[in-house]
């Protein structure tokens, strides 16, 4: 009873805590009527806000982060309630490659400082939330990020101004009434409002945000938990051993993240209740729509579950209400519960944004998120970007954009976009001769963490130069913005492009699929397109796809239909460096897209080609002819002769040769065929 009173207290969400804290301020008082201008304003010093601050700081931009709490990461000071983060903190991978290791580090933010890796903050595989708070604090302090703590932005409006970068300024008003003028607004406030479902009796329900975390308080009780997410299971897990039983009720079927490949679904670490349910230990799962529900309280203070429909029938007192078991004596929820706990997730706080910003909710798909484009820019007002957890509508239930290990990359993508848009700094890229193409792709698919974490959302792009003799390599571009690539990156895509994406197999994941089915792994290169586990997929386009093509791409395609596609066959170790299994088919694909020969050659072969052909393969042109030929060693040459790919010229003509696969004969190179040397004995 007492606890439900607490729930009431916490019920109206919002800024309770921060209003209590606001008098301790560190703001320089701005008394003038002209608001203080900043190019970039970041709302919230959580992981996403700090991550953006880091990039702005490194680029030397004029920015400030507004944080209502006195320290960064205030969400983590309270949540998750049971303090165990479900983002893995894998401290060892057996590899030294820092970029690769980020594939398995779900908590660190991106920075140049190796000390700011989360593994230095916790040894636990599933770390304590307190360590996250400490980490975020260190991140802000060590990097000297410009955060205005104890500053609650109470209101955000738009001020039209032709001079402004986006035709308007964002005016932020803090709790002191001070105004801040911003050219670009980066909203990283996360999801802070507990999701509540309104039904008769919902006032009896305790919220996840306030329910006791002490198992003692549940000793011998019947507990009903509404919701089926990680918070629900986390709550159940905590009290599993002390209750009579726990029932869990939600509209949707439970989704296991190992079946959906979506980290927001139920993680195995929290699913103890599934185990006891299926092992007949009184606990159980039920499916029903919560909006049809009603909770009535009887004289003993116990809760009964019934339907809204019954309540509408008449206005009887609690004990007279019709209960489903009156008609249906084996109704599953016929027992009385001691407590009902709501664990229904969180919503974005829209309340501070003025209507003029036209920041609307994501609609049917994701009501809890603000509506944004694939570039994370609000559909309503230019210059307003949503970062971090709140930006998850872009890849909700698909990728990791709602989590630190995903949004640290999307934040970087947004920053790169802003650098190009407002400062003329083109999207970073490296230029290479075409002979490096295969290697460049192999390197990235084997180490890139952004591609791996944000599979399907961020992809690398290779822009070909004229005649396909060189290319530019761009990292981690939002795939759904492909049509706008030129404006976003400031790079030209006139001569075709490759997109390097990571994908799971089409039919592999899903809430009810058996992801452990026999024969799930594909080993043959020719079956690579049927790979089920995450694997690299390379799309080739002759022309940059149009917006139409991106929007109306074929069903279940991550990208518009390409001119050609290549799958690198899945690998158990995610190591795609096998010379024949991975690199060779990739090279053949690239060669056939570009209609050229991308093999590498020793200097001796290039020498031969140089004197027997008018044109040289790219590798010889770009290496040997620039006096950077690969000389090789005696032992390699011997292997070459054994394999038939090289010829031992020292013996040519000295003894009969049966015209084996020589450099010319074997390579299928254009050029005069090398004849078998049958007829020249007498000449030597």
């Amino acid at each position: 009873m007492g606890l439900s009173a607490v729930a009431r207290l916490w019920g109206p969400p919002g800024l309770l805590l921060t209003f209590a804290l606001h008098p301790t301020l560190c703001l320089r008082p701005v008394q003038t009527s002209a608001p203080r201008h900043r190019d970039y304003c970041v709302l919230g010093a959580g992981p996403a806000g700090l991550q953006m601050a880091y990039f702005l700081q490194r680029a030397g931009r004029d920015y400030a982060v507004f944080e209502r709490a006195p320290r960064p990461g205030s969400f983590f000071t309270r949540y998750p309630r049971h303090r165990k983060l479900i983002s893995i903190n894998k401290r060892h991978t057996g590899k030294a490659n820092a970029e690769f290791n980020l594939r398995h580090d779900w908590n660190s933010l991106l920075s140049h400082d190796p000390r700011l890796l989360f593994r230095h903050y916790s040894r636990a595989y599933f770390p304590d939330a307190g360590d996250m708070v400490r980490y975020l604090g260190d991140f802000a302090d060590r990097l000297g990020l410009h955060v205005l703590y104890n500053t609650t932005i109470a209101h955000v409006t738009l001020d039209k101004d032709r001079q402004a970068w986006n035709g308007h300024y964002f005016i932020l008003t803090d709790q002191m009434g001070h105004a801040h003028q911003c050219s670009v607004l980066l909203v990283a406030t996360g999801l802070s409002v507990p999701n509540q479902v309104d039904f008769p009796g919902s006032e009896y329900v305790e919220g996840y945000e306030s329910v006791s975390v002490d198992p003692e308080d549940f000793e011998g009780q019947n507990v009903l938990i509404l919701g089926r997410g990680n918070s629900a299971f986390e709550t159940a897990e905590n009290i599993l051993g002390v209750t009579n039983f726990i029932h869990m009720l939600s509209r949707s079927r439970v989704r296991l993240s190992w079946a959906t490949h979506y980290v927001g679904d139920l993680r195995a670490i929290n699913n103890g209740l599934l185990d006891t349910y299926q092992l007949k230990s009184l606990d159980g799962l039920l499916e029903s729509d919560l909006t049809d529900l009603a909770v009535v309280k009887d004289r003993e203070g116990k809760f009964h579950i019934t339907l809204k429909f019954f309540l509408e029938e008449g206005n009887q007192s609690a004990d007279a209400v019709t209960l489903p078991q009156d008609d249906n004596d084996n109704f599953a929820m016929r027992v009385a519960y001691d407590r009902v706990i709501r664990c229904l997730g969180w919503n974005f706080d829209f309340s501070i944004f003025n209507k003029s910003l036209r920041l609307s909710s994501g609609g049917e798909l994701s009501k809890k998120y603000p509506l944004v484009k694939a570039s994370y820019e609000s559909k309503g007002s230019r210059g307003l970007f949503v970062l971090g957890t709140a930006s998850h509508s872009v890849d909700y239930r698909r990728s990791a954009g709602g989590f630190i290990h995903g949004f640290r990359y999307t934040v970087r993508a947004v920053h790169r976009l802003l650098e190009q848009r407002h400062h003329g700094v083109a999207w970073p890229s490296t230029k290479h001769p075409i002979s490096q193409l295969t290697s460049s792709i192999v390197r990235r698919v084997n180490e890139a963490s952004g591609l791996y974490q944000m599979f399907g959302v961020l992809a690398d792009v290779v822009l070909l130069k004229e005649n396909a003799m060189a290319f530019e390599y761009l990292e981690e571009f939002p795939t759904q913005m492909l049509a706008q690539l030129e404006t976003i990156t400031g790079r030209k895509a006139r001569h075709g492009l490759f997109v390097i994406n990571m994908e799971y197999g089409r039919n592999f994941s899903g809430p009810d699929k058996d992801v452990f089915f026999y024969d799930r792994s594909v080993g043959h290169t020719e079956d690579a397109w049927q790979s089920n586990f995450l694997h690299p997929v390379i799309y080739y386009y002759r022309h940059l796809p149009t917006e139409q093509e991106v929007r109306f791409r074929p069903a279940d395609w991550a990208l518009p239909r390409p001119t050609a596609i290549h799958h690198i066959v899945e690998d158990f170790l995610t190591d795609w460096t096998a010379p024949v299994g991975h690199i060779l088919p990739l090279r053949r694909f690239l060669e056939n897209c570009l209609d050229t020969d991308l093999r590498s050659f020793y200097a001796e072969s290039c020498f031969l080609f140089a004197l027997t052909h008018q044109k040289l393969p790219p590798f010889c042109q770009q290496g040997y002819l620039r006096t950077q030929g690969l000389m090789g060693t005696e032992s390699l040459r011997r292997h070459g002769v054994e394999s038939g790919l090289l010829r031992d010229y020292a013996t040519v003509g000295r003894r009969r040769e049966d015209g084996g696969r020589g450099l010319l004969g074997g390579s299928q190179a254009p050029g005069p065929p090398v004849q078998a040397l049958d007829s020249n004995k007498e000449e030597l």
Binding site: A96, A98, L285, L286, F309, N328, N330, Y396, R398, Q436, S440, R443, R506, N507, G510, P511, D512, E526, W529, A555, D556, R561, H566, T577, P579, L584, P585, R588, F589, E591, N592, D595, L598, R599, S600, F601, E604, L611, T612, P618, Q628, L630, M631, G632, T633, L636, E642, S643, A650, G662, L663, S667, P670, G671, V674, L677, S679, N680, E683, L684
Partner: protein, 820 residues
């Protein structure tokens, strides 16, 4: 060519269909209300109906597939309808929830089966399932070998069996079997399985593909005897099965006595070749046995006939005992002499391959090759992977040790990637270099594996592999740009031991420098020593020269002298200050070049040009430098060291400036054996040496050879070159000008995906489509899963939901059941 022979047949089969079955003119999906629908049902007629809510989306993948199935099902007299469950009238077939609609198969107004829509995932599945339900008696589904044996025993002496294995129900192969069964179901017993174990137990190893066996049981009279089996060797399509069964029906061996060219049998119509066993009275019995023996083995592949030579008018070569006739018209028959049935079989089969599987064959030919490494660097590195290199001779650097190491000592760093073949090939040369330099060099040889330390490599601006950089204290790192080999890198390291330009402090030292005495151990790496002479006050010129010297560091020794007594040197070597002195150690010559107003770049150019020899021995290492001149090459091929007369002749012409438009050079096959490959490309065979050729690499690619019957003398050579210039000589070959194309095709995954998409879109409707649909699809997942195995509790809730108080139920019942 397959298709042409099939066209005839296709017409045939559709004619059969049309004449046998009711054929409707309408072939799009009709939409009816439940009442209307039930009123159209005719007794005995089958009908498939999909019940859906009136307000459900007009299009879905299922509806598209259903629409496609209308036509084929109508061919079998089965009507298809979409029944809209409108609010006014409802039916028990209208599901309770929007997404739980099903399709129902009726015969007359009797319900035969209901199908969840996910079993009818595409048009093939729809047709297969519907026919499977209707042909319940004709097609027996079995799961064990025992079942098969029972059927086999029961039918011995009575009927033949068409036994097929398909990978799954609803596949295109299943559909093909069902469609054939519709036609032949009364003639043959159709038996179907999806059990791989069953297939394996009758001796087939290939369980990947669908199979069809014909069991010849009808002629078996002895019940202990097994039915003969014939495996259909074509893919399971309706046409192929039809064609196969037709050949099973044909007589085993037909006797003919007419011109093989005129004979016509069902085989020819089906596109199969004919084999005639030529017989004569005397050997008739034996020939008949041979023919039957061959016929059994060729069953389904070719028709076998016995040709009676005695009563034949047409001319058949005396020795021929077999006549082979292809199915294509206008191809003459082949007369063969084959003394063995196996030879007959293999002849037929090899011809079949040529005819039929040509398309497949291409793939078969390519696919193994595509997986064979044709990159010489990758292959050689791979073959060498097990050799342990003495890597410990070089220092492996890491992110932690890199900075302190390159600061503490002058270091060469090789940046490589463990998975990249080119850099691993170069690593071998690098290790060879370390062996050579062991304990002698002050330069520390180190390496960084960028596969491990990608951040470090990125920080050092290394994004390609391999890269070699030299880190010297207090100076910017210098990238090595020479050949990736032991010798060139050694030269780079050795020449970097001295600072360039080195400061010479006395005239005597300068003389020692020019004579090669000063850096005796280095002149083998730099055939030229360059000395810049400046007055002490020529600051700008000195700066430019220093810059140039720095730039050329590692490829040539440079020195600078600018003492007060510099005039002693300039006078001695007749140089006007500022000037360069070039000491060519091999030739023992010192020449001077004035440097007035030359910028650093010009100085680099001057020195680089000076490094070129007038008549060099061309090698793998130095060819690129001479190719830069963009002139035709005059190459003297020599087996061993050069003939002095030839050399003299060329040098004389060089001196007389007759060769200015060419780059004269010679090639020693002993040092550069690959020269033999070049000669082979020019002459096909190895010509006698020495031999002179002119190769115009950059203009047309013609190769001209100096006549081998002439001695290489100044006069002859000059005359020949004049004729060449005048266009009077004809070239021996032209170098191919083709671009370098992909050596082999790639896997066409896009087509494979397309093919799979059109054949078996396994549960396509459950796929996430665009971002906007994600949620909707999620719902589908849930619903479908809910309809599968449900925990008891869920079922109870469902039961509860179904009770008509519930909101959902209430809504759908409110209109027609007012009393509720």
């Amino acid at each position: 060519m397959m298709s042409s022979s099939f066209n005839k047949f296709r017409v045939g089969i559709s004619f059969v269909m049309m004449s046998i079955f009711y054929k409707s003119a309408v072939d799009s999906l009709s939409e009816l209300s439940p009442q209307k629908y039930f009123s159209t049902l005719q007794p005995g007629k089958a009908s498939l109906a999909y019940f859906c809510q009136a307000d459900s989306p007009r299009t879905s993948i299922f509806l598209e597939e259903l629409n496609e199935a209308v036509k084929p099902l109508q061919d079998y007299g089965i009507s298809v309808a979409k029944v809209n469950c409108v609010k006014e009238e409802t039916s028990r077939y209208c599901g309770k929830e929007k997404d739980l609609m099903k399709a129902y198969l009726f015969r007359g107004n009797i319900l035969l089966r209901e199908f969840p829509t996910d079993t009818l995932f595409d048009v093939n599945a729809i047709v297969a399932h519907v026919l499977f339900s209707l042909l319940f008696n004709e097609v027996k589904y079995i799961t064990t070998l025992e079942d098969l044996q029972n059927i086999e025993n029961a039918l011995k002496g009575k009927a033949n069996i068409a036994f097929s294995y398909v990978r799954a129900i609803g596949t295109p192969e299943h559909r093909a079997v069902m469609e054939t069964a519709f036609v032949y179901g009364t003639t043959y017993k159709f038996v179907l399985t999806t059990e791989t174990a069953l297939l394996e137990s009758i001796g087939t190893e290939d369980i990947e593909n669908a199979h069809l066996y014909f069991f010849h049981c009808k002629q078996v009279l002895d019940l202990t005897e097994q039915c003969r089996r014939t495996l259909m060797e074509w893919p399971l399509t309706t046409l192929n099965i039809h064609r196969f069964i037709k050949t099973m029906e044909a007589p085993l061996v037909t006797e003919v006595a007419e011109d093989p060219q005129q004979v016509s049998t069902v085989h020819l119509q089906l596109g199969l070749p004919l084999v005639f066993i030529v017989s004569q009275q005397a050997t008739y019995e034996a020939d008949r046995r041979t023919a039957e023996w061959a016929a059994w083995r060729l069953l389904g592949k070719a028709g076998v006939l016995l040709l009676l030579r005695d009563s034949l008018e047409a001319d058949i070569p005396q020795h021929a005992n077999v006549v082979f006739r292809r199915a294509e018209e206008g191809v003459p028959v082949e007369f063969l002499v084959l003394h063995d049935v196996d030879l007959i079989i293999s002849h037929v089969e090899s011809n079949m391959h040529n005819e039929e599987i040509q398309e497949d064959e291409d793939e078969d030919m390519e696919s193994p090759d595509m997986d064979i490494q044709d990159d010489e660097v990758a292959e050689t590195v791979y073959r060498d992977r097990k050799r342990r290199l003495p890597l410990e001779l070089t220092v492996e650097l890491t992110e932690e040790t890199f900075d302190e190491t390159v600061v503490a000592s002058d270091s060469i760093v090789l940046f490589y990637a463990g998975w990249q073949a080119v850099s691993m090939a170069f690593l071998q040369s690098y290790i060879d270099l370390a062996i050579k330099l062991k304990g002698t060099s002050t330069m520390l040889l180190t390496r960084v594996n960028c596969a491990d330390w990608s951040d470090l490599c990125a920080k050092q601006n290394v994004t390609e592999f391999p890269v070699v950089k030299m880190y010297k204290e207090g100076k910017n790192p210098v990238s090595y740009t020479g050949m990736l080999g032991t010798e060139d890198l050694l030269k780079f390291i050795q020449l970097n031991r001295i600072s360039c330009p080195v400061n010479i402090t006395s005239v005597q030292e300068a003389e020692e420098y020019l004579s090669g005495e000063l850096y005796k151990d280095l002149i083998s790496y730099s055939s030229v020593s360059v000395l810049g002479l400046f007055s002490p006050n020529m600051t700008t010129a000195k700066e430019d020269f220093t810059e140039a010297g720095n730039y050329l560091k590692g490829c040539v020794i440079t020195g600078i002298y600018s003492e007060e007594d510099v005039l002693i040197l300039s006078n001695k070597y007749a140089a006007t200050l500022p000037a360069l002195l070039l000491a060519r150690h091999k030739e023992g010559k010192i020449e001077s070049i004035p440097l007035a107003n030359s910028h650093a770049q010009d100085i680099v150019q001057i020195i680089t040009n000076a490094l070129l020899e007038t008549f060099p021995e061309i090698t793998v290492e130095n060819l690129p430098i001479y190719l830069r001149l963009q002139k035709p090459l005059l190459i003297l091929f020599s087996d061993g060291s050069i003939n002095p007369q030839c050399k003299k002749a060329v040098l004389t012409l060089v001196k007389e400036k007759h060769l200015d438009s060419l780059t004269p050079c010679w090639l020693n096959l002993k040092n550069t054996p690959v020269g033999r490959g070049i000669l082979q490309a020019y002459f096909n065979t190895l010509p006698p040496l020495p031999l002179l050729v002119v190769v115009s690499l950059h203009s047309g690619g013609q190769v001209f050879a100096f006549p081998s019957d002439q001695a290489i003398t100044e006069q002859n050579l000059l005359l020949w070159l004049k004729k060449l210039e005048a266009g009077l000589e004809s070239h021996i070959t032209i170098l191919p000008a083709g671009e370098w194309k992909p050596p082999l095709p790639a896997y066409d995954f896009l087509s494979m995906m397309d093919a799979a998409g059109s054949q078996q879109p396994t549960r396509r409707e459950s796929e996430c489509t665009k971002e906007m649909d994600a949620q909707e699809n999620d719902k589908k997942h849930e619903d479908k899963s809910a309809s599968r195995k449900e925990p008891i509790e869920t079922l109870r809730i469902k039961h509860w939901n179904r009770s008509n108080w519930f909101k959902e139920g209430e809504k759908s019942f409110r209109h027609d059941n007012k009393e509720l």
